[in-house]
């Protein structure tokens, strides 16, 4: 048997020192430490449910071995905000109706955070590209995209900002997205065309 390795994980600001076999993934280590907001979906880097920020960069934690994250700063969805004090992105997900079963949500929020950190005012195409590594099998992509747009606007204009006006209504406007990101046109243009079936 290989020797266990001492690994220091700094998760959501708290330091953990653990002894782990070399084959333990960051995903497994985080969940064993109680960070069950990091979801175990596919374990092959396809679904993004296990996404976390590793030194500020969004990664699939199933594709990182825990020792590769030794000493690194890890932020999970729960590290961004809590039920009492949610992050603007999390609140926007709730307000836009972007949470259905909720399994993809922590990973979606992490990908949204990584996007908005780099690009505070992304286009719809940029949002679709940024969340393309996160699968929502409820297929609620329309609301998720609107949640990111709402969060972007609130982060730039303050908490009172909304998506009303020239935008489509936050909920229910788009429900036929399947997994084809980067459709041309704004949500409004597509709504006028009568949906997303191409």
């Amino acid at each position: 048997m290989p020797n266990k390795r001492k690994v220091v994980l700094r998760v959501n600001g708290r330091q953990h020192e653990v002894a782990l076999d070399p084959n333990v993934s960051l995903l497994q280590a985080l969940r064993d430490l109680g960070h069950t907001d990091v979801k175990n979906g596919c374990e092959i880097g396809e679904c993004g449910a296990c996404a976390v920020l590793l030194n500020g960069k969004a990664v699939n934690s199933c594709m990182v071995l825990a020792w590769q994250a030794d000493g690194a700063e890890v932020v999970t969805n729960a590290g961004l905000g809590t039920m009492d004090k949610p992050h603007v992105i999390q609140e926007a997900f709730a307000d836009a109706g972007a949470v259905q079963c909720g399994y993809c949500t922590p990973g979606m929020v992490i990908s949204a955070k990584a996007l908005l950190d780099r690009n505070p005012d992304p286009s719809e195409a940029e949002i679709r590209e940024a969340i393309s590594g996160n699968l929502c099998r409820c297929t609620g992509y329309g609301q998720i995209i609107e949640a990111v747009q709402l969060a972007s606007r609130r982060l730039r204009e303050g908490p009172a900002a909304s998506l009303t006006g020239e935008r489509a209504a936050p909920c229910g406007a788009l429900t036929q997205e399947g997994d084809s990101p980067r459709l041309p046109g704004s949500t409004e243009q597509r709504a006028r065309r009568g949906g997303d079936r191409r």
Partner: protein, 290 residues
């Protein structure tokens, strides 16, 4: 589901890493791990010892060294995507990187890993082939530089020996007037594996005669390849629609898709025609690249 057990060695220097690769039987390098971890989980790959090369300084950085652009093997796809040097000198590679998997994977996957894995659908390989790239392989026996098209042998097979580490990939700084284009076709618009990749790079003299043509394809043959006959057909002649159509048809002849995937021949031909026309238009505008 857990991974099989293995040992980890974390050398502090390139020299130490090469020593381990030469002395420890079955030791394999790991950088981002986006291929290795998946293969280990699936049980298709079972190294007893993995050698962590991600932090080795010699494997990092993107720089122009004299006449060459040099990219450290452990450079992530995301880092390449954000590199002003590559944006200026090799937009074809930046385009390939932008089509690579998705943001989560791009933050871990490395160019060296992509070339060591040598999957038929590698996105970096066709772009690097049009840049006339070489890889630098190092071992305790010394280093050697191998042109990428000789390095890539077949699906998941390269000339790298088990004691060698891919240290960097490098290519001559392309002509400032060259124009390039890249297109990936997959089952989705983003976050997918390539069904066909085509990359092209053209250059012409003041009279509009083609002085350099490089065309590469991936996922349409066991490994990414240059379409040399198509290139030869273009060089020295004006880049007319007829010349482009003939070169596109020769590009399809360089493809060798698996049985059942013959449709890729038409895709290669169509993409090659479109991309060559795009590059020719960019050349006519006097603009560079993509």
């Amino acid at each position: 589901m857990s991974l099989p057990q293995f040992e980890v060695l974390q050398p502090a220097t390139l020299g130490e890493a090469l020593k381990i690769l030469s002395e420890v039987k079955g030791a394999e390098p790991i950088a981002g791990g986006t291929n290795l971890i998946v293969d280990m989980r699936a049980g298709t790959h079972r190294p007893k010892v993995v050698v962590d090369v991600a932090a080795l300084r010699d494997l990092h950085g993107i720089e122009v060294t004299g006449p060459e652009v040099v990219i450290g093997a452990a450079t992530t796809i995301a880092e390449m995507l954000e590199s002003p040097i590559l944006m200026k000198h090799a937009p074809v590679l930046v385009l390939a990187c932008s089509s690579f998997a998705n943001a989560l994977i791009r933050n871990r996957a490395t160019v060296g890993g992509n070339l060591v894995t040598a999957a038929p659908c590698s996105d970096t390989a066709p772009a690097l082939l049009t840049l006339d790239a070489e890889v630098k392989l190092a071992s305790v026996r010394g280093t050697r530089r191998v042109p990428l098209d000789r390095y890539l042998v077949s699906a998941f097979s390269t000339v790298r020996r088990s004691d060698e580490l891919l240290v960097s990939v490098r290519f001559p700084v392309p002509s400032a007037t060259a124009a390039a284009a890249f297109r990936k076709m997959g089952l989705r618009k983003v976050s997918c594996m390539a069904k066909v990749d085509v990359a092209v790079m053209l250059d012409a003299d003041a009279a509009g005669r083609c002085t350099s043509a490089r065309i590469a394809i991936a996922a349409a043959s066991p490994i990414a390849v240059r379409a040399r006959a198509a290139e030869a057909a273009l060089i020295g002649k004006p880049i007319t629609p007829e010349a482009i159509a003939a070169a596109a048809s020769l590009t399809a002849k360089a493809a060798a898709p698996r049985a059942g995937s013959e449709y890729k021949l038409s895709v290669v031909q169509g993409l090659a025609r479109r991309l060559l026309a795009e590059a020719a238009r960019a050349l006519a505008r006097g603009g560079t690249n993509a």
